[in-house]
């Protein structure tokens, strides 16, 4: 059996689909139906599916999910200093929340609005991109997300435009006692030479919910997207995120993902470097405790010559938590002069913590320089001794070393203000405050 139950994730689909925004529009109905049909066939993945070998979704599949409702209590967005004042779009339980959002002052010529609105206002734009990058394939959660396509954020940046202030997308989960699921879909399209910085924050307050996010990103020639993500969902939440990117010539994609929340989280990023000169930097840190399972799965597909990729991931796992890193680099036949490097380092902080890593190289061209490195271990006892010999208490010494270790990844963030914001969140994790 390669599929387990679908945890009621398609319950009463026909009835509900008819009430989704934009329903009745032929292509959108078709897209959704295709997703539903595919998910029906695939179900939720079990560990017998090679890509899901290390992440166990049994707790997710154990009970059915209902549909998300408006939260009972008030929700608010905790501040995060991103340097410049961001444009902000807030989604609560998967739905756009106008009251908490502020998208004023955006330059002209831009499309930057919630997807549900774009389904009314920018149909042509959506029709030409939606579902073209995040194709269904055998991707269980993309199929499920496509079936429920409703809200999220749509961004289009025209030729040569640079959006100076960061765009902050905040996804808040607050379901109280109900077990609910939502499926945000983001679409970012940057035309030639355009530049933007996006900060995604996934924060949860209460509840057992599934946030199944899909982002589709198209970078035209010379475009650059700086994409930073903080995943700090509620302790009982499930967070499955899929980010798919197509990069054209000389485009640059930078991603940093910091994961501290959820009971089970999977951050999957797949980028296709489609034309010469494109490059990507995928970096991140995963910090786990309790019984958390934190999974990072990346795929870098070098489909054209002269492209570059680099990856730096660090994981620190405490208590009974489990970290997973699966990083695959593919170099296709004609992708000569490829440069691809990957590093994943994990720190086990407790006797019950676990890490599983599968760094993979798949290479069909000969003029390449590719490497991956992976290490697993505990804190360096010599370094610890050095600090203790200087009168630093054990806990503090450990804290310093863990910080220094995680910093190695955080230092990769190119934006100084955002780097510091992420750094302080990582530090707070140590104090048990995140």
């Amino acid at each position: 059996m390669n599929a387990m139950t679908d945890a009621g994730l398609l319950r009463d689909y026909e009835t509900h689909a008819a009430t989704l925004p934009g329903a009745g529009s032929g292509w959108l109905d078709g897209l959704r139906k295709g997703g539903a049909h595919r998910f029906e066939g695939l179900g939720l993945p079990t560990r017998r599916v090679e890509e899901w070998k290390y992440t166990d979704l049994r707790t997710l599949a154990s009970d059915p999910f209902g549909h998300a409702h408006e939260p009972d209590a008030d929700v608010s967005v905790p501040d995060m200093d991103l340097g410049a004042e961001p444009y902000r779009a807030v989604f609560v339980n998967g739905h756009f929340h106008a009251g908490l959002s502020d998208l004023t002052g955006l330059p002209d010529g831009l499309v930057a609005l919630p997807l549900a609105q774009a389904m009314q206002n920018s149909k042509a734009f959506l029709e030409s991109y939606l579902g073209r990058v995040a194709t269904l394939g055998r991707r269980h959660f993309v199929a499920l997300n496509t079936a429920w396509l409703a809200d999220g954020f749509a961004l289009y940046v025209p030729d040569g435009m640079t959006i100076e202030r960061p765009i902050e997308l905040v996804f808040i989960g607050a379901t109280g006692d109900t077990r609910a699921a939502w499926h945000p879909r983001n679409l970012f399209v940057l035309h030639p030479g355009a530049q933007a910085t996006i900060v995604e924050r996934h924060i949860g307050q209460t509840g057992t919910y599934l946030s199944n996010t899909v982002a589709e990103i198209v970078l035209a020639t010379g475009a650059r997207l700086n994409h930073f993500k903080l995943q700090d969902e509620a302790a009982d939440a499930f967070h499955i995120a899929t980010t798919q990117i197509h990069a054209s010539a000389d485009a640059v994609y930078e991603n940093f993902s910091l994961m501290t929340g959820s009971s089970v989280a999977r951050n999957q990023i797949a980028i296709e470097l489609q034309a010469p000169g494109s490059s990507c930097m995928l970096n991140g840190a995963y910090l786990g405790r309790g019984k958390q399972q934190l999974d990072t799965t990346t795929l870098i597909d070098h489909a054209a010559p002269d492209c570059k990729s680099s990856e730096v991931y660090k994981g620190a796992l405490d208590e009974r938590s489990k970290g997973v890193f699966q990083g695959r680099i593919v170099v296709r036949k004609d992708a000569q002069r490829t440069n691809g490097h990957q590093s994943n380092k994990a720190l086990l902080l407790s006797d019950k913590a676990e890490i599983d890593a599968k760094p993979e190289l798949e290479i069909y061209a000969d003029d390449v320089v590719c490497s991956h490195g992976a290490t697993v271990g505990e804190l360096d006892e010599h370094a610890l001794f050095y600090l203790r010999a200087r009168g630093i208490p054990l806990e503090e010494a450990r804290g310093l070393l863990i910080d220094a270790f995680v910093d190695g990844a955080i230092d990769e963030i190119s934006n100084a203000a955002i780097r510091e914001a992420f750094r302080s969140h990582a530090k707070a994790w140590q104090g048990g405050n995140s």
Partner: protein
């Protein structure tokens, strides 16, 4: 890139030189074609085996029927019809088995002389080249040298079929203890129909005075070879063992599914080296051996098992020599050179399972792909929860020659122990133009320069081979890759 084209051609020529591609005309005694309980009974009866072994085989066969072929390896081949093969083929003259080498069929001895294993001469020249050899021809062991010398130290080195007759208690105790009959599809198949192989027992505290070696040869057409090797090194003993493999050139694909089990008791050490040069098929991928092998060793306290392999042959290689590091302070090593060319496919690597405290393992894998071949390193390092202080170091390097081949690395790293340390590194590249230029500038012809660089690339592994065989292995690397890197 004229040099690349040229070198690819040279590689092509080199494989035409598969020098072990001859067939020996010998009258064969075969089991009827196909696989059934009757085949299993036939083999068991032919070997005059005790009842318990027949039961063991039948149980494996019945289990095999319920299993499916593993499909996860990065290799592709048309479905195998397991009914379209002979499962037992023995030289007729085996009916009255030779008492000594003098009685061995001269045609057989000639075959081995052609292969570079002059059995007779070795007995004569004892002491010059200290290697004891067990030669397996299709399904049966035909000759074992140096038996007398080894017996003085209490070492048992003979064909496994002989061991079943003479030392049933040892065979019964250890066979299947490391690779159970139900372990995997090919191991189950092997357990049901294995015909011969070598058995070796080193008593407590004995250091085996010479290299032990088995040469495997597939000769008959449409035959599968299923040998089974069992090596038991008792407490504090040491043995170095080498196996070599060749087969004739044929258009059809032949199946080779072996099982090798090593048991290293407390403080024992086993060094197991393989030079695998089965017929790889022609440049269009026609013919060649399917090499689906299960090799696994068990280490007790402070024991050490070291696998060294040079894989140049076979159309398809599916092989993962593994170490179960059960005893505290035990050590596992894996050194591998895998060379693929033309349409060869290799999916090979190792498993290091760290169970005991302070266990250590080291993996050095070098993959070289040329022509239209695909080479994959697939390995697993697992640190169990009790493996305190365990350490692993893994290095996988791949070299690509030409732009039509592929090199892949698929490591699985799993750690459940905080104090365990795992380090893994992998690189993929071609020979650097700088290195080539450096050699060329000093007057070294391009081909020689390339061979030099490749030899350097493999050196770490080749130097692990016993001296007597290092030369042979180097030659093999030379033949497969002469001037082929560019």
């Amino acid at each position: 890139m004229a040099a690349v084209l040229e070198t690819i051609e040279t590689v092509g020529e080199a494989t035409d030189k598969y020098k072990h591609g001859f067939v020996t005309e010998i009258e064969m005694d075969r089991a009827p074609k196909g696989l059934s309980e009757d085949t299993v009974r036939f083999i068991s009866a032919k070997k005059n085996e005790p009842e318990w072994l027949l039961e063991w085989r039948l149980e494996a066969y019945r289990h095999w029927l319920t299993m499916t072929e593993p499909m996860w390896a990065r290799v592709g081949y048309p479905p195998i019809d397991y009914q379209d093969s002979y499962y037992y083929a023995a030289p007729k003259s085996d009916a009255d088995r030779p008492k000594s080498l003098d009685e061995v069929d001269p045609a057989l001895l000639d075959t081995y002389a052609k292969l570079g294993i002059p059995l007779k001469e070795q007995e004569v020249l004892a002491g010059v080249r200290n290697v004891a050899i067990d030669a397996v021809f299709d399904s049966v062991s035909v000759a074992t040298t140096f038996k007398d010398r080894l017996e003085k130290d209490g070492i048992i080195f003979c064909a496994i079929s002989e061991a079943i007759q003479d030392h049933p208690e040892l065979v019964r105790k250890y066979m299947g203890s490391v690779v159970p009959t139900s372990d995997n599809f090919y191991a189950a198949l092997n357990s049901a129909v294995f015909t011969d192989g070598s058995f070796c027992y080193i008593p407590k505290g004995v250091r085996c005075p010479m290299e032990l070696s088995t040469y495997f040869r597939i000769n008959a057409a449409e035959t599968g070879q299923f040998e089974r090797t069992l090596i038991v090194a008792d407490e504090g003993s040491y043995v170095s063992y080498l196996e070599g493999c060749t087969a004739p050139q044929r258009d059809e694909n032949q199946l080779h599914a072996a099982v090798v089990e090593l048991i290293a008791m407390d403080d024992a050490e086993i060094k197991y080296s393989t030079v695998q040069n089965w017929y790889p098929g022609d440049e269009d991928g026609k013919g060649g051996i399917y090499n689906f092998v299960t090799k696994r060793g068990l280490c007790e306290k402070r024991a050490k098992i070291s696998w060294t392999q040079v894989e140049t042959g076979s159309a398809i290689t599916w092989k993962y020599p593994s170490c179960i590091l059960k005893g505290d302070d035990s050590v596992g090593e894996f050194y591998s050179v895998a060379i693929t060319n033309n349409r060869q496919q290799a999916d090979t690597g190792t498993k290091m399972l760290h169970i005991g405290k302070n266990t250590r393992s080291r993996i050095i894998a070098k993959g070289i792909s040329a022509g239209k071949s695909q080479s994959t390193y697939r390995g697993q390092v697992r640190m169990n929860a009790m493996a305190h202080g365990a350490k692993n170091y893994t290095q996988c390097d791949s070299l690509l020659i030409g732009d039509e081949c592929g090199a892949h690395t698929v490591p699985y790293i799993e750690s459940k122990n905080r104090s365990a340390r795992v380090e893994h590194e992998a690189t993929t590249s071609k020979v650097s133009d700088d290195q080539l230029f450096y050699c060329r500038q000093r007057g070294i012809p391009e081909e020689e320069a390339l061979t030099l660089i490749v030899n350097g690339f493999c050196r770490e592994v080749l130097q692990e081979l016993p001296m007597e065989f290092a030369v042979e292995a180097q030659k093999l690397v030379g033949i497969s890759l002469e001037g082929s890197v560019g």
